[in-house]
């Protein structure tokens, strides 16, 4: 393989990478079922979620640390929901620290979690496995 062939393949891959990236940044991720709930309050909530590093223990869509539960759908889970979340955030638990959040901060985080809840499902428990190894959500 000559150096020019090597360079050619390299640049082809780079060009494909940029095209692919652009598509992922736009039409690949345009759908957002929770869009209407991403209010200004929820946007602040997201930043607070990062500021307190909730991700060290919690996952959204399975991504994050595993010490605590996945929070994607906690708002709509039977027996949990908003009031439960507020109480936990106010007091902490044996494993979860009490972050001494203000009322406002808690409001924002709950607003964010409400948004997250509408975006999709995690973990997916109802699905069908297709012949090619992919799955379809029921």
């Amino acid at each position: 393989m000559s150096t020019s062939t090597r360079r050619f393949i390299f640049w082809i891959l780079i060009v494909l990478f940029f095209i692919h990236s652009l598509l992922v940044f736009t039409i690949g991720t345009d759908e957002d079922n929770g869009k209407n709930l991403m209010t200004e309050e929820a946007q602040i909530g997201k930043l607070l979620f990062q500021k307190y590093n909730c991700t060290a223990c919690h996952q959204l869509y399975g991504l994050g640390g595993y010490m605590g539960p996945d929070l994607t759908n906690m708002i709509s889970s039977p027996g949990k929901g908003e009031i439960y979340a507020r109480t936990l955030l106010q007091t902490g638990t044996q494993r979860m620290p009490n972050f001494h959040l203000t009322e406002e901060e808690i409001n924002s985080m709950v607003a964010y979690l409400k948004y997250v809840d509408k975006t999709g499902i995690s973990p997916v428990k109802k699905f069908k496995i297709n012949f090619d190894g992919t799955i379809s959500q029921k």
Binding site: V24, N33, Q50, N53, T55, Q94, Y115, S122
Partner: protein, 447 residues
């Protein structure tokens, strides 16, 4: 260039590794004993662990590349000054990051849990590295061997993916969770791919030096594997986000791409068949021994990665400890073992130190302890993960019920972490002693 700079990067890396693994052990115990070390919450321990071991991977790869480029690649480093500035920025930023963690100031993103502003010095230091590398490498007459391509790719793509991982700063990305997660894991997938390029390049470099045969780094097969790996870096990241509802094609491209890695798996088996006797012959050479071990880990991890890239399997393993097994297998089993090989090569090359018989025995014992407990650790993670996956999806148990059920296996896991740590100390300590003696001797000569 003074030889010390490479060795300083590498020894700092070794220290970061030991401290990082130490924090990893603490974190593992916090998992199983909720009241363990309440003074430093897991929310701080986790980023301390992650950032220190990532620092190890970068410090050791970068130190090696500075040294190898200058002495072994038929070219000279363009600037001897930039690596020093690079090291200083790295160390100062590193200290700042650790201070932020201790003070509870976070950026709160996976991997980069430090405040976003600290990415600026990292970015600048990387620029210095990149400029120096390319200014040096382009002066080389003749074809680049494949490891120089790999280093170049790693450097360029770290830049691109590191920037990409900060796109969340723009509301366009941040305020759409689907986009944010997809782009974040696209960036991280490729970012890990780019540091793998630095590390695998280093492995190939060390191999060619030990065997004394540069041809393997120019072969058609070597380049085919490189391009396949590169394409996977670019397009094969979506197994992290199969359940995030992005467009179907985003996930399908990755699924397809990931499966091409079966070719790499096949190649490994094929070359083992041919090189077993050679492996036996050279097993006594320390760096070689580590490279052989890393080959076994590549095989195991690739098999695991292929399995969890199949959506039907991924749906069970995603968000469980199987993912951690994949991450730990790659960063400890593959990256760390390769980089230890490189550290042995570089440190003995620079210091001309001959390890004493006792030291060699300790290193060999450390090697086996390390690999044994890593295997226990890895298997525990897989078992815990599969158990959790089934309990969540098929049995639909609650979080608390699941944690209670997998607690015994996580306890074994935490203790095997200590085994890994002890093995590492036995391996790393003689190296650090060699560096220390060398630097002291130098100082004496100078004064």
């Amino acid at each position: 260039m003074k030889k010390e700079i490479g060795i300083l990067f590498v020894s700092l890396g070794l220290i970061a590794l030991l401290i990082g693994i130490f924090f990893g052990c603490l974190g593992a115990f916090q998992f199983v004993y909720p009241d363990f070390l309440k003074e430093i919450s897991f929310v701080k321990i986790r980023p301390l662990h992650v950032s220190l071991v990532v620092a190890w991977i970068f410090l050791c790869s970068i130190g090696g590349i500075y040294y190898y480029i200058n002495y072994y690649c038929e070219t000279k480093l363009w600037s001897a000054r930039l690596p020093k500035i690079h090291l200083w920025i790295f160390v100062l930023t590193g200290v700042l990051i650790l201070v932020c963690y201790f003070m509870g100031r976070f950026g709160g993103r996976e991997y980069w849990e430090f405040p976003a502003i600290l990415s600026i010095p990292i970015f600048i230091s990387w620029m210095l590295f990149g400029i120096n590398y390319f200014k040096s490498a382009f002066k080389k007459a003749g074809n680049w061997p494949v490891y120089m391509w790999m280093w170049a790719t790693g450097i360029v793509f770290f830049f691109i993916t590191f920037s990409e991982s900060y796109l969340w700063l723009a509301p366009y990305f941040r305020n759409n969770l689907i986009r944010d997660l997809t782009v974040q894991w696209k960036a991280y997938g490729a970012l890990v791919g780019s540091w793998n390029m630095l590390v695998y390049g280093t492995a190939l470099f060390v191999m060619t030096r030990i065997i004394g045969d540069e041809k393997i780094a120019q072969s058609r097969l070597a380049f085919f594997m490189y391009f396949l790996g590169f394409a996977n870096l670019l397009f094969g990241w979506a197994h992290h986000i199969y359940i995030v509802p992005s467009a179907i094609w985003v996930r399908m491209v990755s699924y397809f791409m990931s499966m091409t890695e079966l070719l790499i798996l096949g190649k490994i088996i094929w070359s083992w068949k041919n090189s077993l006797s050679e492996a036996k012959r050279n097993f006594h050479i320390l760096p070689y021994r580590f490279i052989v071990a890393s080959d076994v880990w590549v095989f195991l991890n690739l098999a695991l990665a292929l399995a969890i890239s199949v959506p039907a399997i991924n749906i069970y393993t995603h968000g469980t400890h199987v993912t951690v097994a994949h991450a730990m297998g790659s960063t400890i089993g593959i990256n760390t073992i390769i980089l230890l090989a490189s550290a042995f090569f570089l440190i003995t090359d620079i210091t001309k130190h001959e390890f004493t018989r006792t030291q060699k025995i300790l290193i060999k014992i450390g090697f086996w302890i390390f690999n044994f407990y890593l295997m226990v650790f890895w298997v525990c993670l897989i078992i815990a993960g599969i158990e959790k996956g089934i309990l969540v999806i098929d049995d639909k148990l609650s979080f608390q019920e699941i944690m209670t059920q997998i607690n015994p296996i996580l306890t074994v896991l935490a203790f095997s972490g200590i085994g890994i740590f002890i093995g590492l100390i036995l391996i790393v300590y003689p190296m650090l002693i060699a560096v220390y003696n060398y630097l002291m001797k130098k100082e004496k000569v100078q004064s």
